[in-house]
Amino acid sequence: MHHIYCPYCEEMREEEEYSYTGEAHIERPKDPAAISDEAWADYMFFRSNPRGIHHEMWYHAAGCRRYFNATRDTQSYKVHETYKMGEMPSITAETLAQAKGDAS
C-alpha cells in the first residue's frame, strides 16, 4: 500500500486517502472545434502507459480534496516526487537516465 506525500497538506498520508486519476499533463485543447476528430480522440483516449517513470494525477479525496501530480515508477511503485498542480516534474525518465549515465 502506497505512502504518499501530499504537497498541499505537506504530510505523508496513506493510499486510502487518495484516488488515482490518470496521466498528468494532458492539456485540454483550447479550441476543441478547431481540431480534427483524430486529435480530439487522441486527447480523450490515448495515454502513454509506460513501464517505469510515469507522471500522474492523484486526488486527495479524503483529505484536502486537492489534485496534485506524482512521478511514480509503475514497475517498482517508487514515488520519486509529488508536486503541485501547474508545476512540472523535476524528475523524469530522461533525468534519471542521465543520472545513471553520469554515475557509471
Partner: protein, 999 residues
C-alpha cells in the same frame, strides 16, 4: 501413557505444570512450554496425518512454520479450527486435536491403498489427464475427487470470537527475534528510535533458545532472555511475541498477525482472539533466519525422518529426543551438532552419514572424538519401514554426489535426522517485488536488491554463524537508526568446514524407478514427478510449480522448493541460478479470515448513511434499499399489502392527491464565486448565463466523450451563488469532477465547491393537493401558480422554520421540495404529514418514485444510461445549448463519426402489446423473434414497471435507430421461453403536455 521420549532434566519446559491433551481420541501428558508437536513427540506419537495425494503415513518433520505434515484440527465444543501446524500450537491443558485427514483414521488408512496401487499411475497432471474426457462427466468425477482431497474442516457455526486491527508507525521495524533480530533491536532501541520487534514464537530468542553455544561467555538462551528483558525495559521499543509479520508491502508497510489468546484455547473467552497490526515503518530490518532443507531420497517421508536442526531443537528446548537409535544424514557440519546433541541426551547415534568425502570441520572432529561413527562419502539412499522408519539403506556416493558407487548396506534405526543445508527465509523480501538471488557460497537464495528502506541481518542473508548473525544485527540496527557501532560478539570457535550442495541423494535405480523420493511433502510432489514435468516440456520453474503443485500447500514449499528447483535444474542441465526461483507471496503463514475482517463485519462492514427522517421511516414500517451508502425508504407497506399493492396505492395518491418522498439523499453542492455561472456553462450542456436568482434549471453533465455522466437541478441563489443537486449515488464523483476541472484546467476561475448534502434535509411532496398542504404551513411566500412558477425557488418560513422551497417535479405532478437544515428535517417531515393528513398525504419510497418518473419518461442516469448514451440518444437534445460560447465538456464529441450516427441505440418508450404484462428489466430486444440464432440484438429494456394509473405495463429501453421506429413492434425473447411483443412509442406515457406540473 508416560512421556517415553522426555528427558529427565533440561529444556525450557516447566515440569511443575503438567498439561493433559488428546490427539485422535487418546489422552497424553505434556508440560507448560511445550508445543503440541514437542508434546506428541515426547509421547512417542509417530503418525500425525496422511498425505494429500497418496495417503501415506506422515510424521512431524520440523519444529516451526516450515512444518508440512503436522496439520491439526483443534476442537472446542462445536468450534473447530482447521490446519494450524502442531509445531506452532502452544500446548494448553485440555487441548483436543485430531488429524486433518485419514479415513477411517490416520493410523489405519484405506485411502493409502490407492496410493500404493495407484502410486505409479498418478503422475503430475493425473487428474487433468485422466478425467479430461468426456467433458460433461467432470462434474461427476469432481464430486468424488473433492471428497478425497483437501485438509481440515471449517466450522459451520458463526465465529464466536472477535478480531480487530490496529495501525502503528515506527522508525525501525525488526522482523524476527533470533540473534540477529535481538541485536538489531537492541542497537536501534539504544539509539532512541521508535522500534517494533515481532516474532512468531511465544518467546523471543529463535535459535538461541535451543543453542549449546555461548554469547560473550553467557549461555545463548540466557543471553536471549537478558536481551529480551532489556528491550522490554525500553519505552521506545514495542516487543511483540506471538506475532507473525506475514506480509511486506510497498513503501515499508508490514502487516502482522498477533495471536492473543490461541495459546490459552482455540476460542477466546473474552477479548480479541487475534489482532492485525498494520505497521508503517521508516526502516525495516528482516532478521527472518533460515530453514533447514531436508534431503530427497527414497521413502524420505516416513514418520521418524526429521530435520536435524529440529531434532536438536526438540532435545535442547523441549527436552524431547524423538528416537532411540538415530542416523544423521548430512551434507554439512550442522548435522554433527545434532549427533552430539543426541549423544549428550543419552541416545544412540548409529552413524553420521556424510555425503562429503573428506569432512574435516571442528564439529566433525568433536563427533569423532565422542566416538560417533562417521560414514564419509556416503548417503542414505532409501529409508525402510511401514508406518515408521525402521532402517536406512546407506551406500557410497561419488564425489559429486551424482551416483552410487558401491554396495549398499542397511542400518537399523528409528530416527533419521536430515541436514541438507539451509534456505534463507526470503519470503517477506519477495513480497515487495524483489527477486531472490542464488549464492553458491550460501547454497541458497538470498533476498535480492530492494527499493524499500530494508536491511538484512543474519541467516536470511546467509550469515549462518551465531557471531556473524549477532554482529550483522548490530550493524543493521545502527544503519537503520543512523548511528554507528563497533560492538561485536564472541561466540567461541565457530570454524566450519565447507558444505556440499546436494539436494537429491542418488539411488541405485533411476529416479523414475526408485522408491518415491519426496520433494514437497504437503502436496506429495516427488522427484520423479518433477523430472517428468521437465521432460514433458515444462521448463520455466513457474510452470513446473503449477503443473506439479510444488510449493502450493499451506507451507508454501518452505522445505521443498529449493530441492525441487535443483532437480529441475539438473534435469535441464542448467544451474539453479539459471532456472531461478518462484516468488513467495503473502501470507508467510496462513492468516484467519476473522483477522482480515477484524471489526469490519456485519453492520460495520460499510458505513450506513441515514437521513434526518430515518427514525420516522423505521417507525412507519418502511422497507429500505441501499443507494450508495444511503438507506432509502423503498416503499411503505401497510398490513396485508403485497409490494405491488403498496406501489399502486402510493402512485395513485401522488396522481390523485398528494404523496411525500424523503429526497435528502440527493447530492447537494454549494457553488460560489464570481465565475460560478461561467463554470456551470462549461460543465453542463445547457446555458446558465441568463438564469436569474430565484430560478432553477435542469442540467445534463457529460464526460468529454459526450456521454451522460450525471444530471440534476441547479438553483440560482444569487448571481454568484448556486446550489447544484446530483444523483444520490453520484454526489462524490460529481464533486471530484468539478474540482478536477477547476484545479487542473481552469484554476484562474474564482469558484468554490462545498458538499452540503448532509447539511440539508429535503421533503419532496407531489400531487394536485401539494400546494394546499404547503399553504397551510407557509404564509410568507406567494405560492400561487402565477407568482411561483414551475422551476422557481423561494426562501420562506415553513412551519416556523426558515426554508428553501423549490417548485420542481420528478413525478410530473405539481410538486414542492422543502429544504431545511438537517437537524430540523425530522420536525419538518412530521409537520408536513400533519398538514397533509386531511388530503390523505401518503409517504412513498424510491420504487414509486421510479414508477412515477418512468410514466413521465424521465431518465435515471445510471439506469437508463450506461456511459454510452449521449443527450441525443436519450432524446434530450432540448437540454443541449447550441450557441454556447465555450465548448462545454463533451460538446466536441457530438460530431465524432461514431457519436453522430443516426442508427445509434436510442431511448424509446415500450408499450407491451399485452397490457397486463410487465417486461423484465434487462430483457433483450429483437425485431424478429423467429430469426435463427444469433439474432440481431437491437437493444435492451432499461426500466419497466406496472403503471396503475395508466392500467398497463410501461417500459423504457434502448433500440438501434429507435427514434425513427415509432409504432414498430419489437420482441423480447425471455429465458423462460416467452416472447413479449411491445410497440415503440414516446417514453412520455403520462401527461405529455406537462399540464400537471405546470398547474
Amino acid at each position: 501413557m508416560s512421556q517415553v521420549n522426555r528427558l529427565a532434566a533440561g529444556g525450557r519446559i516447566d515440569r511443575s505444570k503438567p498439561m493433559s491433551f488428546t490427539f485422535n481420541g487418546k489422552t497424553y501428558q505434556g508440560f507448560d512450554g511445550d508445543t503440541l508437536a514437542s508434546a506428541m513427540l515426547a509421547n512417542g506419537v509417530g503418525i500425525v496425518g496422511r498425505s494429500f495425494k497418496y495417503s501415506r503415513a506422515r510424521g512431524i518433520l520440523g519444529h516451526g512454520a516450515e512444518e508440512p505434515n503436522a496439520l491439526m484440527q483443534l476442537h472446542k465444543g462445536n468450534e473447530t479450527i482447521p490446519n494450524p501446524r502442531a509445531t506452532q500450537v502452544e500446548l494448553f491443558d485440555g487441548l483436543t486435536a485430531t488429524s486433518t485427514n485419514g479415513w477411517p483414521s490416520a493410523e489405519f488408512d484405506l485411502m493409502s491403498l490407492m496410493g500404493k496401487i495407484g502410486g505409479m499411475m498418478m503422475p503430475p497432471g493425473f487428474y487433468y489427464k485422466t478425467f479430461m474426457a468426456p467433458q460433461k462427466m467432470w462434474m461427476t468425477y469432481e464430486k468424488f475427487i473433492r471428497k478425497a482431497a483437501g485438509f481440515g474442516k471449517l466450522s459451520l457455526e458463526p465465529d464466536p470470537d472477535t478480531y480487530d486491527k490496529i495501525n502503528a508507525h515506527c522508525d525501525v521495524m525488526v522482523v524476527g527475534a533470533g540473534p540477529a533480530g535481538l541485536a538489531a533491536a537492541l542497537e536501534a532501541g539504544r539509539s532512541g528510535k521508535r522500534v517494533i520487534i515481532v516474532d512468531e514464537q511465544n518467546e523471543f530468542g529463535g535459535t538461541l533458545l535451543a543453542s549449546t553455544q555461548t554469547v560473550d561467555g553467557i549461555d545463548a538462551a540466557t543471553w536471549a532472555d537478558q536481551a529480551t528483558s532489556q528491550l522490554e525495559g525500553m519505552d521506545n521499543v514495542l516487543v511483540m511475541p506471538r506475532t507473525t509479520a506475514f506480509g511486506y508491502y510497498d513503501h515499508n508497510f508490514v502487516v502482522a498477525l498477533e495471536r492473543r489468546t490461541d495459546h490459552i484455547g482455540p476460542v477466546a473467552k473474552t477479548g480479541t482472539r487475534q489482532r492485525l497490526h498494520r505497521i508503517r515503518a521508516h526502516q525495516v530490518i528482516l532478521a527472518t533466519g533460515a530453514i533447514e532443507r531436508p534431503l530427497v531420497f527414497g521413502n524420505n517421508d516416513l514418520p521418524g525422518i526429521m530435520l536435524a536442526n529440529s531434532v536438536s531443537t526438540y532435545i535442547n528446548r523441549y527436552a524431547v529426543v524423538p528416537g532411540q537409535r538415530c542416523i544423521i544424514m548430512t551434507t554439512n557440519d550442522s548435522g554433527y551438532q545434532t549427533a552430539l546433541d543426541i549423544q549428550a541426551a543419552g541416545r544412540t547415534v548409529v552413524a553420521v552419514v556424510d555425503s562429503r568425502h573428506t569432512p574435516d570441520g571442528r564439529l566433525v572432529a568433536a563427533a569423532k572424538a565422542a566416538g560417533i561413527q562417521v560414514m564419509a562419502g556416503h548417503g542414505v539412499i532409501e529409508a525402510q519401514g511401514g508406518k515408521k522408519v525402521t532402517g536406512a539403506i546407506v551406500a557410497p556416493l561419488d564425489e559429486a554426489g551424482d551416483n552410487v558407487t558401491g554396495a549398499s548396506k542397511t542400518l537399523s534405526c528409528d530416527l533419521i535426522a536430515v541436514a541438507g543445508g539451509w534456505s534463507p527465509v526470503v519470503h517477506l523480501s519477495c513480497h515487495t517485488g524483489s527477486r531472490p538471488v542464488w549464492k553458491d557460497d550460501v547454497a541458497g537464495f538470498v533476498p535480492g536488491a530492494s527499493i524499500q528502506n530494508q536491511h538484512l541481518a543474519g541467516a536470511v542473508a546467509g550469515e549462518y554463524l551465531l557471531s556473524e548473525a549477532l554482529n550483522a544485527g548490530i550493524q543493521a540496527g545502527a544503519t537503520a537508526s543512523d548511528t554507528t557501532s563497533t560492538q561485536t560478539f564472541d561466540c567461541g570457535d565457530e570454524s566450519t568446514g565447507a558444505s556440499q550442495a546436494l539436494y537429491l541423494v542418488p539411488h541405485t535405480k533411476p529416479i523414475s524407478r526408485a522408491p518415491k523420493q519426496f520433494v514437497d511433502f504437503q502436496n506429495d510432489v516427488t522427484a520423479a514427478g518433477i523430472e517428468l514435468a521437465a521432460r514433458e516440456g515444462f521448463q520455466s520453474i513457474e510452470h513446473v510449480k503449477r503443473y506439479t503443485a510444488m510449493g502450493f500447500g499451506t507451507d508454501q514449499g518452505k522445505t521443498g522448493n529449493i530441492n525441487g528447483m535443483a532437480i529441475v535444474a539438473k534435469t535441464l542441465n542448467k544451474s539453479i541460478a539459471e532456472t531461478g526461483t518462484t516468488i513467495f507471496r503473502p501470507a508467510y503463514t496462513p492468516v484467519t479470515f476473522g483477522a482480515i475482517g477484524g471489526r469490519d463485519v456485519g453492520e460495520l462492514l460499510d458505513p450506513a448513511r441515514h437521513t434526518a427522517m430515518h427514525p420516522w421511516h423505521v417507525a412507519n414500517g418502511a422497507e429500505f434499499e441501499n443507494v450508495g451508502q444511503w438507506k432509502r425508504p423503498w416503499y411503505f407497506p401497510q398490513a396485508g399489502e403485497t409490494m405491488q399493492q403498496t406501489l399502486n396505492r402510493e402512485c395513485l395518491a401522488v396522481r390523485n392527491s398528494v404523496g411525500i418522498l424523503d429526497a435528502s439523499t440527493l447530492g447537494k453542492i454549494d457553488i460560489q464565486g464570481k465565475d460560478a455561472r461561467e463554470f456551470l456553462n462549461r460543465v453542463y450542456t445547457n446555458a446558465w448565463s441568463k438564469l436569474a436568482p430565484g430560478k432553477c434549471r435542469y442540467g445534463l453533465m457529460l464526460k468529454e466523450d459526450g456521454m451522460i455522466f450525471d444530471d440534476g437541478v441547479t438553483a440560482c441563489l444569487s448571481d454568484n451563488h448556486f446550489l447544484m443537486t446530483t444523483t444520490s449515488g453520484g454526489a462524490a464523483a460529481v464533486l471530484g469532477w468539478l474540482e478536477l476541472w477547476h484545479q487542473t484546467e481552469w484554476p484562474e476561475m474564482e469558484v468554490y465547491f462545498t458538499s452540503v448534502t448532509d447539511q440539508w434535509a429535503t421533503c419532496s411532496f407531489a400531487g394536485p393537493n401539494s400546494r394546499k398542504v404547503l399553504e397551510k404551513l407557509c404564509t410568507d411566500v406567494d405560492l400561487s401558480s402565477d407568482a411561483m412558477k414551475f422551476m422557481d425557488w423561494r426562501e420562506g418560513t415553513v412551519a416556523g422554520i426558515k426554508a428553501r422551497i423549490f417548485r420542481i417535479s420528478f413525478t410530473g405532478e405539481l410538486s414542492f421540495e422543502v429544504n431545511v437544515p438537517a437537524d430540523q428535517g425530522h420536525y419538518m417531515w412530521k409537520k408536513i404529514m400533519e398538514a397533509g393528513e386531511e388530503f390523505g398525504i401518503t409517504p412513498y419510497g424510491t420504487e414509486s418514485m421510479h414508477v412515477l418518473r418512468a410514466e413521465k419518461g424521465f431518465i435515471i442516469a445510471g439506469q437508463d444510461t450506461d456511459g454510452s448514451m449521449t443527450p441525443y440518444d436519450c432524446l434530450m437534445g432540448w437540454a443541449v445549448g447550441k450557441t454556447k460560447e465555450f465548448s462545454f465538456l463533451g460538446e466536441r464529441s457530438f460530431s465524432r463519426p461514431d457519436t453522430s450516427r443516426t442508427d445509434r441505440k436510442q431511448l424509446v418508450g415500450l408499450k407491451p402489446k399485452d397490457p397486463t404484462v410487465v417486461i423484465p428489466e434487462g430483457a433483450q430486444i429483437v425485431m424478429d423473434p423467429n430469426q435463427p440464432i444469433p439474432m440481431d440484438m437491437m437493444g435492451h429494456v432499461t426500466s419497466s414497471y406496472w403503471s396503475e394509473c395508466l392500467g398497463h405495463g410501461i417500459a423504457m429501453g434502448t433500440v438501434k435507430g429507435g427514434s425513427d421506429r415509432m409504432g414498430e413492434t419489437v420482441y423480447c425473447p425471455l429465458a423462460d421461453g416467452r416472447v413479449l411483443a411491445a410497440e415503440i412509442c414516446s417514453p412520455v406515457f403520462y401527461d405529455p403536455k406537462g399540464d400537471h406540473h405546470n398547474d
